[in-house]
Symmetry: C2
Subunit: 131 residues, 2 copies
DNA sequence: CCCTGTGTACTATCTTCCTAGTACAAGCGA
DNA sequence: TCGCTTGTACTAGGAAGATAGTACACAGGG
């Protein structure tokens, strides 16, 4: 499957930042590898119904971070990596998280409640770590 | 413990939205109940070093949603409610999540990687659910 | 060479968010 | 009544995000 972006208009996060984050996550979790091509600026703009400039801004940011390299006439390709933890570890953790998530669904939690719970636990931890 | 707000400047989410979300989360997870008082506009503004207008905007939004009611000279109080997760269920799920989180920390994941992993798993699920 | 598709650059405009500063109305207690 | 605290309203401005439209440079294929 080709890499596909997804936008959450209700989150309040700027569009270009959502795109940057998703590429970073793709690299972190092994969805994207060195040499992979990202969809072109115009493709993304058309698919998400946003301005090409917004997509270009995201790609420029990724280039500045050394994660991708543009090739005129061809597209934008992954040339860097932020992968620091073995894929096996990610797979194991993702599996554990999905198991937990199933339990939350069984308990009747909807999407918003799940996100609220996750955000709260992470917040609490950050708060404790800062103290 | 009095309800306390927390800001993440790097998230890109507008300040007033972060405040609104945190109150909603507090209600969802049973941290806040009918009759509880929120910190005053000026208290929050001073604690977070933001403009009082920004806090007022958040409180106005919460009032518009029917979750809180302002009382002149006294403060802002919780008067509404949303579907709550039973305390026992919440405690069990939070415990499970903390256990998983400990495993992630042990595997060497930093804060950003944890958030990326969680976001991706939730995204994948939303994507699968939409299909 | 010419055409196409790619990323990029530029200006201009609009909206939202945030800030600053000031002022006002309502409730409480001495 | 007076003083304090509360939420609220208002104007003004700066900064960031997103859009629209146009134009250019580069690479590849015919």
């Amino acid at each position: 499957m080709v890499f596909a972006f997804r936008l959450d208009a209700r989150s309040g996060v700027p569009t270009y930042l959502q795109l940057v984050d998703q590429v970073r996550r793709g690299l972190l979790l092994g969805y994207l590898h060195d040499g992979d091509q990202l969809p072109t600026v115009r493709e993304v703009a058309a698919a998400l119904v946003v301005n090409p400039n917004t997509v270009a801004k995201a790609y420029r940011e990724l280039e500045r971070a050394g994660l991708v390299t543009p090739r005129a006439g061809q597209g934008t390709f992954v040339t860097g990596s932020v992968d620091q933890v073995p894929a096996v570890t990610y797979a194991r953790l993702a599996r554990g998280l999905r198991t937990w998530l199933r339990g939350a669904r069984d308990a009747g939690l909807d999407d918003e409640q799940v996100r609220a719970l996750v955000a709260t636990v992470l917040d609490d931890q950050a708060r404790a770590g800062a103290a």
